[in-house]
Structures are given as C-alpha cells and as structure tokens.
C-alpha cells in the first residue's frame, strides 16, 4: 500500500509535465530531428553530406544568408532605436498619458497579415500615401515602386516589420526604465545633472541587463519573422529580398525538395545555436 502511494508521489510531477513535453516533442523536437535526418537523403537514397556539399556550392544560398544578415542587422538597429525612443516618450507622465501610450503601441495588436496589407496599400505606386507625402515634402520627384524594385523591397518590408514589432521593445524597455529607483535621479538632479546626463549615467546602466537579454531575443526571433516579408514581396523581385527562411519555405513547398530545404534549415539552426551559446558565454563572463 505504502509502495503505491510512494509511486504516486514520485510520478506526480511527471504526469503533470507529460502533456507539455508531449506537445513540444510532437511539434518541435521530432520534426527537428526528422529535418536533420531528411537533410542526409535525396528522395529516398542516403547520400550522407551530399546536400551540404551542394549547399556550399549554391551561390543563391550565400546570397540568402547575406540578405538575412542585412535584414537582421537593420531590423535590430531599427527596432531598438524606435523602441528606446518610444519608451522614453512613453515615460512622459500626465493625465490620460496611459491612453496615449496605448495608441503609441497599437501595432502590437495588429496581426501580421493585416499589417502587411495596410503597408502594401501605403506603399502603392499610384495612390499610396507614402509616395505622395515624400513628393510633397520634396524628398523624391517621381513616385517609387517600393515593393517591386530590387533596391527598395527589403527596406520597405523592414519599415513595415519594425512598425509592427517595435511595441514589444517599447513596453519591455519602459518597464525596465520604471524599475530604476527614483532616488538616483533625485541625487543626480541635486548635483545639477542635465536630463541627457541622467539618461546616460543612470537610466542606461540601470536597464543594461534587460537590454542585453532583449538583444539576443531580438536577433533569434528575427529569424522567426516570415509572414510579412513573404506576403509583401515573397522574397522578390527575383531574389532581392529573399531571406533564408523564405528560401527554405519556397524550396520545400514550391519546388517540393524537402531534403534540400531541411539541409538549409539545419545550417540556420546551427547558426542560431552558435549565437545563443556565444551570448550565454559572454553574459556569464560579465556576471563573474
């Protein structure tokens, strides 16, 4: 009797995590292992590292990685600059400032597909407001094909994507700013510090830890961004804005070459693993 009760006691935590672990295994872990094994086959024949050798010689893949690097870098800079700026603005207090903050972070509630459609309309060549405003203020003379020209497609999608996603940064940075103790600012203002000095010497060091966590999340999650770019340019024109996740999807579902898509996927995964390991190593050193 006691044995059964003991068994029940020790099995309780396992029974409780079982649904969670099963779900993550079916949808993430198993497909991941499956993908790695698929990368070693061509159709049904085992070819070892054959796909990887093909990949190294695939200049389009290197182009995809190059575009991804640009995409991630510009996205990172954009989302942090806008996020930090709006967080500082959001920190201005007055009556009803809460409502203004909600309006300022409203893109958070706009689904990707909706955001893509709105921005495609804004970027419309003939009737889009973007071209109109830029002509009006004299930045351009003639309307531009924002989403259809190779040199502008990526930057246009980035504008839309940063607009869609910066509120997450605003809200997190704002929470961090508010957690910095007020006494520090009081002491600084007694010492006659300017508001820029207060920001540089008190706010920034106070939120540094959260910024470093947020920066790695930003890089890793930027690889997850698929929908808006896929809908707005589809990686085009030709492959001007084809970041690697778009290429992977197209190879799998347009050319039905799941083996080759899995090979690229495995490489991207290794890169992400490298980034996170590097990050944890650095932060560990910092703590010590």
């Amino acid at each position: 009797m006691k044995g059964i009760k003991n068994l029940k006691r020790t099995s309780f935590p396992y029974l409780m995590v079982l649904p969670l672990v099963t779900s993550l295994t079916i949808v993430f872990l198993y497909p991941l292992i499956y993908a790695v094994s698929l990368s070693l086959f061509r159709e049904d024949t085992f070819i070892g590292l054959g796909n990887y050798i093909q990949l190294i010689l695939d200049s389009r893949f290197w182009w995809n990685m190059f575009i991804t690097l640009i995409y991630v870098t510009l996205y990172f800079i954009g989302v942090f600059v806008v996020g930090m700026f709006t967080a500082l603005v959001a920190n201005i207090h007055f009556r009803f400032s809460g409502i203004v903050n909600m309006i300022m972070t409203i893109p958070y509630a706009i689904p990707d597909v909706a955001a893509a459609l709105i921005w495609m309309w804004i970027f419309d060549y003939h009737y889009g407001i973007f071209n109109h405003v830029l002509i009006k203020i004299g930045l351009i003379d003639t309307p531009l094909l924002w989403l259809q020209s190779p040199s502008l497609a990526l930057i246009s999608v980035l504008i839309a994507t940063i607009w869609r996603l910066f509120p997450l940064h605003t809200l997190i940075i704002l929470a961090a700013i508010r957690a910095v103790p007020d006494e520090q600012y009081e002491a600084a203002s007694i010492d006659g510090a300017t508001s820029f000095q207060a920001f540089w010497y008190i706010t920034l060091p106070g939120i540094r830890k959260i910024l470093s966590i947020l920066s790695v999340i930003t890089v890793v999650w930027s690889f997850k961004r698929f929908t808006m770019l896929y809908l707005m340019t589809g990686g085009g024109p030709s492959s001007a804005s084809e970041i690697v996740v778009i290429r992977i999807y197209r190879v799998a579902f347009e050319y039905f070459n799941i083996n080759y898509a899995s090979t690229m996927g495995t490489i991207v995964l290794l890169v992400l693993l490298g980034i996170t390991t590097f990050y944890f190593k650095i932060t560990k050193e910092e703590v010590e």
């Binding site: 497909p31 709006t86 909600m102 997450l168 690889f223 809908l231």
Partner: protein
C-alpha cells in the same frame, strides 16, 4: 516650467499620432467613398459604410472568422491546461529531468517555425490531419506553450511555500492542492496567458496557410492573404476586410491592456 510640460505633452501626442497613422489610414480607406483621388485626402470628402457592410456580410469571411474562433478557443483551452500543469511542477517540485525539460521549453522558443513546417506537414499528412482545424490547434498549442509555461512558472514561484505545506497537512492530495489552491491564486496569470495565446493564434499565418488547403476551412489570416494580388478587389474593400480582422485584437488590446503588458514584461524579463 509649465510651458516645458505642455511641450512634452504635445510632443508625445504627435509621436503617437505618427505611429498610429497606418491604423488611421486603414480606417479612413475603409470608409472613404473614393480613395482613388490624387492627391489623397487626409480626411475623406465623402464617406460610406458600404465596404464595411460588404465585409461583415461576406459569408466567406464569416466562415473564416468562425474557423479562427474555433482554433483560438481550442488552442487557448489546451494551452492553459498543459501550460499551468507543467509550469506548476517545474516551479514547485524538484525531480529528475526538471532542468532538461526547462531547457526544452526555452530552446523551442528559439526555433523558427519556417524550418520545421515541412516535417510537421509530413507528420500531419501521415495521420490524416491535413485540412482539419485540429492540425492548427495541435501546432498552435505547442507554438504558444513555451511563453505561457514561462509566465505561469514565474507566478507559481511567487506563491509562498506555507500555503502548500498547510494544505498538505490538511490532507489535500497533490493534484487537489494544484487545482483548488494554486490555480485560484494565479487567476491574473490565467487571464494574461489566455489573451497572449489568443493574440498569437489570431496572428498565426504560416501553419494556417500551409496545413489548410480547403478554402472553407481557412482561418481569416489565410483568407485575407488570398485577396492579395487579386486586382478585382479594390483597396477600400481590402482595407474594410482588414479592419474587420484587426478590430477584434485592437479592442482587446484597449480593454485588457493591463494584463497584456504584465504578461509581456514578465515573459521577457524573467
């Protein structure tokens, strides 16, 4: 001094208007009688509800909305159940494999879905779930579980030990303690996770676009994306559809802002 304060307020209001402009532009384009004018007017000359009425009476859109609601309801229910159960023991118990499971939860958040969507597709087609809403519920539950587990765990960890010890002495079973004592104490977390999960499902496109081929079973995001590049549809019509689609999460965002912000900051920082 006052002048500086008013300048700050003015500045903040201008910035928010700029940020929210695309949303305003969607609204205005959906009710503007004639958007194809040059130059475009910031405030429409003539307005009409016809486009929005067309959208909310469009049977296809209603069907897609219904499908999205079903997937959202199913995903939120399972997510709350699985996430709270798992997070409770991960936060409150010491058992072999605890750290490994936490690593699994954390690392799955890192994997871009575009990398695994093809193997999941193969898996789902093997068990005959392609073209069913279950395909989306199963994958969306896993997609949203890491964040919700993380939020639940941080809430459970804040509960004082003494409550649980007292309940144990009173002879409560372990599951009873979880169900009748721990869960009622984290009600705000349940609300937060439910909202964030619903947002994610409402936003999800890749799985919905890939796993459902039958247009009668599409979710609203797939449905609206199919209007893209159809030149029969006017931008006013598309913006009206988009408005119908985005109005629901926008309303929730305004009404339940507190829960959402609490969840975002907790999930990310902890």
């Amino acid at each position: 001094m006052y002048r500086q304060k008013y300048m700050q307020i003015l500045f903040k209001v201008i910035i928010s208007c700029l940020v929210a402009f695309p949303v305003y532009w969607m609204l205005v384009s959906a009710i503007n009688k004639n958007i194809f004018t040059y130059p475009p007017y910031l405030f429409p000359r003539e307005t009409t509800w016809a486009y929005i009425q067309d959208s909310i009476h469009n049977e296809q859109i209603l069907q897609w909305l219904k499908n999205t609601f079903l997937v959202t309801a199913g995903t939120v229910t399972l997510n709350l159940l699985f996430g709270s159960m798992g997070a409770y023991v991960l936060g409150k118990y010491r058992f072999k494999g605890n750290a490994l499971i936490l690593l699994l939860v954390l690392s799955t958040q890192m994997i871009p879905t575009a990398l695994i969507v093809a193997p999941i597709y193969l898996l789902l087609s093997k068990v005959g779930l392609i073209d069913t809403l279950w395909a989306l519920i199963i994958s969306d539950v896993a997609l949203t579980l890491p964040l919700s587990t993380w939020i639940f765990k941080s809430f459970f960890e804040m509960l004082p030990k003494e409550i649980f010890e007292a309940a144990k002495i009173d002879g409560c079973s372990e599951f009873g303690i979880f169900m009748h004592i721990a869960i009622p104490l984290i009600k705000p977390a349940l609300a937060t996770v439910a909202i964030l999960t619903a947002f994610d499902v409402w936003n999800e496109f890749l799985f919905a676009y890939t796993f459902i081929l039958d247009s009668a079973k599409w979710t609203i995001s797939t449905g609206l994306s199919s209007y893209m590049g159809q030149y029969l549809m006017s931008w006013s019509g598309i913006m009206a559809n988009t408005l119908v689609f985005a109005a629901i999460p926008m309303t929730i965002y305004f009404l339940l802002h507190r829960y959402i912000v609490g969840g975002i900051t907790k999930g990310a920082i902890k």
